[in-house]
């Protein structure tokens, strides 16, 4: 199990995007439920608690992914096994992509109201 968590294991190839997917499902599902249960007044436009929550979740997920990306680079540098170095680097790239993807997908919260 410890082996799977090592940042040079190929399972890490899917780690970044798994976090991204969970975050994505969470904001999309959360948004739908929030709009069904307690839709904010359209007058408030994008200045709502929902936008704030989604925005914070976005920043949090992005920070986590950036951190993991950096950690994967370090892990790849530390190891001497070619295979581990290889998977560490590729994973780092995908973590980085996921971080960017998180920011990119979450960005519209600053100009759109949540439930219209």
């Amino acid at each position: 199990m410890k082996h799977l968590l090592s940042l040079t294991h190929p399972i890490q190839l899917v780690g970044g995007l798994t976090i991204w997917s969970i975050w994505f499902v969470a904001i999309y599902g959360g948004l739908s439920v929030a709009c069904a249960v307690a839709p904010p007044d359209p007058l408030r436009d994008m200045w709502t608690g929902i936008n704030l929550a989604v925005g914070l979740a976005t920043l949090g997920a992005m920070a986590l992914l950036l951190l993991l990306s950096w950690a994967a680079v370090l892990a790849a540098r530390r190891t001497s096994v070619r295979r581990e170095c290889y998977f560490g680097n590729v994973s780092a790239g995908i973590y980085l992509f996921s971080a960017g993807a998180t920011l990119f997908v979450g960005y519209p919260v600053i100009f759109l109201p949540p439930c219209l």
Partner: protein, 317 residues
């Protein structure tokens, strides 16, 4: 491709910008690929140099190019969608018109204030020009989609749900509209005639229809025949209740015919309205619009149909 409203013209410019950019990108990529086949000489390169060249291409073309383009797209183009949101306007409520999709025609309702009944018409949408209008959409049966191409985007009409789209016609005019979500046999023949009028003309048009209907006398043969054959599905305001034969059970509703004489088309845009057109439609509607929901009238003699048609043509506010 001939925008007549702010939403449509936004998209018009977005389209040309995207097209120009895309063509440039595509041509450059094609040229680079084909060039690789043309070169004769290849310098000897060390793996390090190869790595550098690869990184240059992949980082430049594979990462930077798409990232820059989609960020530009998201930042500049995506917010144009805001204009179509039914956000509150500074000058108060926008005009609201309800549109209900049916297989295969449009029911248009102008909501009345308080206890006032809605003004109901069909297959012809009249709207004020020069101001935003909120269309509240739903469907009575399957999923349809409401689309006035020259005014802007489309919005699906889903049974059991209401959704609102804001459109604006800059100038008065006549526009085509159509159902854009496949909805069955006569999806093709589900057209809507849209007219944008100056605010005053629009108010006058609506006021004409708001006034309470005059009762219709029950003497004429055509009225009796209409009551027997048609009134179970089709409403005409002021039609004598007693004449309605609802012995035949119908689970569908036909268009409201109160102002049919004033409409420009028949059968949701299948036939232009002219003298005698209604009678012709009543006899041949299953050939003109095969599969439509009105049962064939083979059991009714031609004379009666012509009578009904002639009478309906007089139905104007």
């Amino acid at each position: 491709m001939d925008p007549a409203g702010p939403a449509a013209s936004h998209q018009f410019w977005v389209w040309w910008a995207m097209l120009f950019f895309s063509v440039v990108v595509a041509l450059v990529v094609f040229a680079l690929w084909l060039y690789t086949f043309r070169r004769r000489e290849q310098p000897q390169r060390t793996p390090r140099e190869e790595q550098r060249i690869m990184l240059r291409w992949v980082l430049g073309g594979g990462v930077l190019l798409p990232v820059v383009s989609i960020v530009a797209l998201l930042v500049f183009a995506a917010p144009t969608g805001r204009g179509m949101l039914p956000l509150p306007l500074p000058e108060g409520e926008a005009e609201r018109i309800e549109v209900v999709g049916h297989q295969w025609w449009w029911e248009i309702r102008y909501p009345g204030e308080e206890d006032e009944p809605d003004v109901v018409t069909a297959n012809r949408l009249v709207m004020p020009a020069g101001e935003p209008v909120d269309f509240r959409l739903t469907s009575a049966d399957v999923i349809h989609s409401f689309w006035i191409p020259r005014l802007g985007g489309k919005r699906d009409m889903v049974p059991g749900r209401h959704s609102t789209i804001r459109l604006e016609a800059s100038e008065p005019g006549v526009f085509g509209a159509q159902c854009a979500e496949f909805c069955g046999a006569q999806h093709t023949g589900m057209l809507l005639h849209v007219e944008a009028l100056e605010r005053d003309d629009y108010d006058a048009w609506l006021a004409e229809r708001r006034s309470p209907p005059e009762p219709i006398g029950d003497e004429a043969d055509a009225v009796r025949a209409f009551g027997e054959h048609c009134a179970a599905c089709h409403t005409v305001a002021g039609f004598p209740e007693a004449l309605v034969d609802d012995g035949v059970a119908h689970d569908i509703v036909g268009p409201d015919l109160t102002d049919i004489g004033s409409r420009p088309t028949l059968g949701a845009g299948v036939l232009p309205m002219e003298e005698g057109a209604i009678a012709y439609w009543l006899q041949h509607h299953q050939t003109l619009k095969p599969g439509n929901r009105m049962p064939p009238h083979n059991h009714i003699d031609t004379e009666t149909l012509q009578d009904i048609g002639a009478w309906l043509e007089t139905m104007e506010p």
